[in-house]
Symmetry: C2
Subunit: 240 residues, 2 copies
Amino acid sequence: MQNPTAAMLVIGDEILSGRTRDANMYHLAGQLTEHGIDLREVRVVSDDAAAIVSAVQALSAAYDSVFTSGGIGPTHDDITADCIAAAFSDHIDVRDDARALLQAHYDRNGQELNDARLRMARIPDSATLIDNPVSVAPGFTVQNVHVMAGVPSVFQAMFTSVLPTLTGGAPLLSQTLRIDLGEGDIAGPLGALADDFADLSIGSYPFQKDGKYGANIVIRGQDSARIDAAMVRLKAAFPV
Amino acid sequence: MQNPTAAMLVIGDEILSGRTRDANMYHLAGQLTEHGIDLREVRVVSDDAAAIVSAVQALSAAYDSVFTSGGIGPTHDDITADCIAAAFSDHIDVRDDARALLQAHYDRNGQELNDARLRMARIPDSATLIDNPVSVAPGFTVQNVHVMAGVPSVFQAMFTSVLPTLTGGAPLLSQTLRIDLGEGDIAGPLGALADDFADLSIGSYPFQKDGKYGANIVIRGQDSARIDAAMVRLKAAFPV
């Protein structure tokens, strides 16, 4: 059976300028794999409305679910919520449920819910809120798109909030064998193995360490007996 | 003047499964920014021919240059070269110039240039080779697409080989001010500043540290006097 598919859209100039090294993609990729959801594509775009809208539309149409990160704070460069509304021709304004969450939070902290903070209550009409236990200002889901914050601790907390609503698949199992040979000496037998186990995904990830070549061979699939069988063949082809 | 634009295509299941944390995107983003080339979009796709071909075509048409990473080794899952040829309707086979490089390399090391290694000499007819001082097997350029290896040390070496052929722009200058306030207290004055300095890019990158909120405000542009002027205004609005 085919697992559900997903895509991620990372929104933010700071990744594309090399200022910040993305952490959310790596986190999401690991989490989705663990829950049997097949992450097929990631796109990173800048804080540009046309780029965000067209990426959301393309990914939402092509995959079962989409996860976005970034651009939902209170500053002028936070335009994700408005772009999501535009992508789905939805109406957007400050919503009472989101405003109530923020009001209670800032009252508790003795801070003012000013115009800037109120921007974080701008939520498309059709959206469901995503709980943010870290800093309260919510994410939201419109159709199959889950809109989450860029700050890694908040992104991770929001993903945990969304997770129970997702339909997972069979977890992807994997086994890895490190072979201390150049890929050129591995490729022949490995290609034959991949042909014989076409139901599995067999990847070769080369590395260099201390001037020596090697590769990690990763065998992935949903059937542990098949993975075991492929691993036996692989080890026989490359005895230590 | 508008700087040249670029996109990156990262090819490989290992990033999407969360097995490997991408390093090449971060490296390329920093390098391009330093050389005045505006990285506008990154896509990550799996080792799937249709996905690679359509991403290459879309990015090549939309941006001045495209950099790919991954999928040019000798194993069965290395399909990038064939996909690039398909994307540009180019013919591909083992090419004499690439074969000669590999033959000399393996002769020197007393290794056999077997069928798997010879796959790395499969280069589209119209391509120019990219020098690989680390492990010899070349990358290549077809039209505006630079095809490079996924292993970070090799990717970086190949980028250094390509760099002199690229047309750079005015380097993007930036200054950063850290403000130890929540973004909600920063956003109002910051939005006014962004309106008054519409020729600059002003970004707010929030963080949490030891339970306190703050943000790094980054002002980017090509005119250092304008950046200085904006920074003076910003510091006046948020005195330490």
